[in-house]
Symmetry: D2
Subunit: 440 residues, 4 copies
């Protein structure tokens, strides 16, 4: 994939002409802390392919590097900003809110920062949610708590009404923390702003506990989620060894991508079967899960199964397809399905098992961030602020090859990163669990 195939240019509201206030602030530090527009981070970093691309006269895929710019677009003394958080919870949302507020306040001197309550609902007057003033004092300790102090909600709202509200508030810069649906909505908001000829920036900080943002190494909250999932799996293991033919079944997040399931398994090597959306599996048949589980139980008398919520959706083939308020296809509950499929199946085959089913989703997503996610959230938020002040819009910030980059909203929205089932991580999972391929 080269640059020709994929537009990585970032939309701007106009020329950034105002010297950054950081210029004078970073006294002895020299100008080394500023990033030039020419600093672009390669996406594919295998030498061979890059050399070939360049030798063929093409441009390799790369993204603008995040960070403070020498010149900014907005006059900080006049700018008002809004921050909104949407969708399900994820460890670190409060960290992001906090770091945005602190960077706007201390780096750029902004004084009017509004928190939009309960996601996009907060823009729509009929909901009656009041604004929240965000100050360094009001956000000082919020990173110590999970959830989001702004509140959140799912589902779309009328784009025109949102832009009306942004105009009414005289807000020049909107920071949206949310999932894929939020990024899609944010892109539409930016388009509507553009259509109206307004100079209002929209910057996304993508939030997905599933870690499946396209082209992004790692999203905030993921490591925290894995850490908690590991403890829960440890408990499931304790349950499994404590009962005759004990089976611990844990459902973890992962609507389309099994990163949490895979990573938690590698960190807590008591798992025997990992089921993820990327790897098809059968339940019945000589090589299906039920048979493999039986063999395991006969051999070792206990087993632990970790299933990502998006795995095995084919088993619900004929059932109703519902959408959730965010417009995502509502997944059928594979955890409950497996629980209800496994125990009777063994009973029918004359083998009594003791299955314990654990769904720790809310406990994981409502936790506060761990130290490393505290850091990542801070870097993402500060980069979002730098990009926004520089007049960039319709973009999101993300980690690519360990550097924060700017990604156009369209480039990421609607796509997803997946566990590469022929790659090192999944191979390592198969080796750790010893699980067979579960396909007939």
């Amino acid at each position: 994939m080269n640059r020709e195939d994929f537009d990585t240019s970032i939309m701007t509201l106009g020329t950034a002409k105002i010297p950054s206030p950081l210029r004078t602030r970073a006294k002895g530090a020299g100008s080394g802390c500023f990033v030039s527009e020419k600093d672009r981070v390669l996406v594919n970093i295998l030498e061979d392919r890059i050399v070939k691309t360049i030798e063929r006269g093409k441009k390799p895929l790369s993204f603008e590097q995040g960070g403070p710019r020498h010149k900014i677009f907005f006059d900080p003394t006049k700018l008002r900003c809004a921050v909104v958080s949407c969708g399900g919870l994820c460890p670190g949302v409060n960290d992001v809110i906090r770091a945005i507020v602190l960077a706007l306040h201390y780096n750029y001197g902004l004084r009017n920062i509004y928190g939009i309550r309960y996601g996009l609902q907060g823009f729509i007057s009929s909901y009656g949610h009041e604004l929240m003033d965000l100050t360094p004092e009001s956000v000082a300790h919020i990173h110590e708590r999970g959830g989001t102090i702004l509140g959140s909600s799912r589902g779309p709202q009328d784009i025109e009404s949102i832009v009306d509200a942004i105009e009414r508030m005289n807000v020049g810069l909107v920071f949206a923390v949310g999932g894929d649906g939020t990024m899609v909505a944010s892109a539409k908001i930016a388009d509507q702003i553009n259509k109206r000829g307004l100079k209002i920036g929209v910057i996304g900080i993508p939030k997905t506990i599933d870690n499946d943002i396209y082209l992004v190494d790692r999203s905030f909250g993921f490591e925290t989620a894995v850490g908690i999932a590991v403890n829960v799996i440890g408990g499931a293991h304790n349950e499994s060894i404590s009962a005759p033919n004990g089976v611990g079944l844990v459902k973890v997040m992962g609507r389309h991508s099994g990163f949490i399931a895979a990573a938690a398994t590698l960190a807590m090597p008591d798992v025997n079967f990992v089921l993820i959306p990327e790897s098809d599996f059968e339940l019945e048949g000589p090589k299906g899960l039920l048979e493999a589980l039986k063999e395991r139980l006969i051999l070792r008398k206990h087993a632990v199964i970790v299933v990502a919520e998006g795995a095995g959706q084919k088993f619900f083939g004929n059932r109703d397809q519902e959408l959730d308020p965010s417009g995502n296809l509502r997944l059928h509950d594979i955890g409950v399905f497996l629980k209800e499929a496994i125990t009777p199946n063994f009973k029918d085959r004359g083998m009594e098992i003791n299955l314990k089913y654990i769904d720790p989703s809310y406990t994981i997503r409502s936790a506060s961030a761990n130290a490393n996610d505290h850091l990542l959230c801070g870097f993402l938020a500060r980069s979002a602020v730098h990009a926004g002040l520089a007049g960039k819009t319709k973009m999101l910030v993300g980690l690519c090859n360990n550097r924060i980059v700017h990604i156009p909203m369209e480039a990421s929205a609607g796509k997803r990163k997946h566990v590469d089932t022929s790659g090192d991580m999944w191979m390592s999972v198969l080796e750790t669990t010893g699980q067979p391929h579960l396909r007939n």
Copy 2:
């Protein structure tokens, strides 16, 4: 309640004549570490009542104090012991197993200690569970892990077959870690042993995460459970504040007694409603939970409800009454019931709420013990060993007024401790939550 009303005498297998090997071991320590049969711990310790009892020439209720005796009944060089764990998991079971093994080995010099696998099943040959040899090496680190290395199971087994197995194994002392059902079964085993004229002791270490053992202050695992429940409730609170009209609903253990719910609420004061088996409540009506919840949501926009699993069973009045394998009445799931009752009710009343239901039971009960439960398990186990070696039988060990005491199995089995709804703890809960009485 006086001693006349309540037989607190402990059955013995015979006169303890053998000098305790601890005598020579506790060199410089003098004999202060031994407990006399006359050391009895008062149950009711309010001066007034004790004085009145004594002045009326009656004996106040008291229990034998646990601890090493000067003389023991069994010859340690010939004694074989068995340890069995039954029923649901509880933090600390491995601690108890470990401390029993270490005390038998190091204090009394025993070399043959058998672990019975998977609860009472392990005594019944048809299950085919093998014995596990328990040594200081094999139990050295097991306290660091939740669950039970012996495995467990629910449900009764044939008493005569169990005693047959004990006889076949030449075991002189059985330690049973389990809940109320296990104590009932253990009493029957002791009776059957007595009937056969055998000299085999049966000592119970009662296990109930609900903390509802009659006359016992605190059972092992309870504090650990409260500590974890507190974290889960914190997550539910984060969920509730993060959504418009967010409601966090957490079900905690407590079949008949709301101790975990009450204690966790006092330790994590973000709870607004606590529902326990001891305190009746209405759902409907002007003073019912639904109306009170509505008022709370209008006022504060979010709420946290903690419900003990045994609360509100009256709502299932007409439904089937099933027994679980342990012979306990299978409770209907009040958590799921509330979840399914609350959301539609609000919808019907035109108020959209966001309820998140969390059931952390398996995660709590499979955890390893915290430091304080490590200690309690150690003291209980060592007291059980001292009592068993001294020839006592058909008794359990428990904490009464901060001291370990011997309680006859019949005195405790089938009875339960409850949260006193006019006492200090429940009053404190009501004050902390500010919840109304929820009765019309």
Copy 3:
């Protein structure tokens, strides 16, 4: 010890005539939640001794039970209260402050609650510390943090000046959270108040992480401290096994009493030597620590030593005796002493060892309370409020046989609870560690 030998009567400011506002509040709850002055908790609860005492016509030692009274002394609409925290940190101080404020506000309707900054210094105007207004909002989340929001300080201040300040502030009730020195000072303050004929109550909530309050089962923060100490000892064990002749040496709190050292050892059974103030030990000689350590290292190649800070003070016999600002004898640092004594000694004897010395004191004492200490702090604080409102003074609240009682300040101040070296706990420690007596 009988009541004749020990005055347990609590001083009062006058007759409590005002009906408690709790009377009307605890609607359905009946009056069961009130405590009568006749409810007294026995201290010694062994039946035999109590019976003998009573039969000899004596009164057994007992304390007033804590809890709300039917009648109170102060008019809540006019009362102002002050809270002060003194001495070193201990997990739970913020819990106590918070629960005092909430109980005063919600139970009794008080509106003027002042926080005195930085211990007794806050009463002395020359320090210039401002008062802090304490409200339910300002204390809502403080229990989640270690330390004290009021600040603290060590050392005495002029008693008359303190009482002057209390008078000037029109404060009727002072709650003092602090150690033994603070209780001594509080008793003097109460005496000075009495001398001036004022109606001002002084209630102490004793704070000692060492758990050595005389006649009190357990003080707040102790269990939290043990839990953290256990983790640190685990790290010391990891250090010890990872080096040839590795020795992990951990110093824990315990100026006069080795409760933390003993309890942590029982919960983390990798400790080989425990040194506490109550049990004398030799360093040199055939049975001294150095020789015992050498034997252990030859046998197992690693060892863990836990030493309470007050142990082995005899080794500093000839050195200067300093007082700290609290007036306590400044202890010599036994941890550093042992570290500096052990390594060269082994070097001289031709054996190279690797000793790692860990002093986790500040990390332990600055932690927030665990769930169980959250609870204990709440009960202590509410009992202190009930006692204060009822007009009691010059007393402290404490846990005795699992119940909260009122203890006259003189009865506890200057005395200490010790580890009974011929009792069950210390015997269990000796058995767990296998350590010899270390005396020649």
Copy 4:
């Protein structure tokens, strides 16, 4: 820096001709999981520079990507391996040992894996340390514990004797987990092996809690260390706010690089001054630390200082320069120095402060790895095994731009990564703390 300036080629023992047993194992997985020798990871990934390098006909700096090869050099049925851990502790060493053993056993079928006890000492017979057999069973749970089951030691040993020992044991592959000194020694061992014409591979897994391996993004244990440091700093903050003019001073690891100090500060934003080796600072003078601290205390009454152990070594200018057993310059203790410098300085200036000094080093380094470090250790260890089996030698594995790469030992040894004081991380630290430049 281009490839011309920097030899990145990896030494091999010979041509890898044997088909990898993984070929048949990874059934359905295709060959996608194998890595080709042509897969090289770019080090500098800014597009501009890479394009310029290539356009100038030069080769950009890149490293071989780690992972399984199609062909291997050693015959797994005949190969014996040794694992050794050296130097100070770091979270994750047991993870690395475990994952090496499992990968050798399950991926390649090896059966003879030896653990060398206590670092390089274990190769020298005069120490008398016995070998440890490493099997999947013996390492199953070791990742749950800190430290190293093999033991470790510091300091060099005679290279020829080490190679003699390796020859005697018929070991074909040595895995060395250790710091910079160990990598230097390993390179010498590889040279000596080469000189003797032996076919023995030496693979390093670099261990540095300081995260300062040259060209490597992140080393194992670092994130765990930051997570624990964050908690300790939180405690120091609690200490500082709880005393008048309270100062919490925390020393963290970082001999030459302030990564832990900087990262922990970004994750725990209560720090006011961070002192690292890379950023010079003055103590005295109008812009020195003492004056800045005074201003902070006057303004806010409390402060937290985090100092990396390698900071401020210039203050020891005239003191003795000692080497530790690893041959590193023994650092003077900047933590103790600051503690002893600050308090008297303030006293002299008539301002009483309360400084609490915390050195959590042993507690941090002896901890077990967090979930993310569990993962990293697994990937590093498996890559080391793949590289070793493929006949590579005198190389180490490390994370570069999120991929595991092979780095020649000479390329990394003796060099170090530093905090870029004009880069984004340090700028963020300065903004978070608000600290001035501390230079006159």
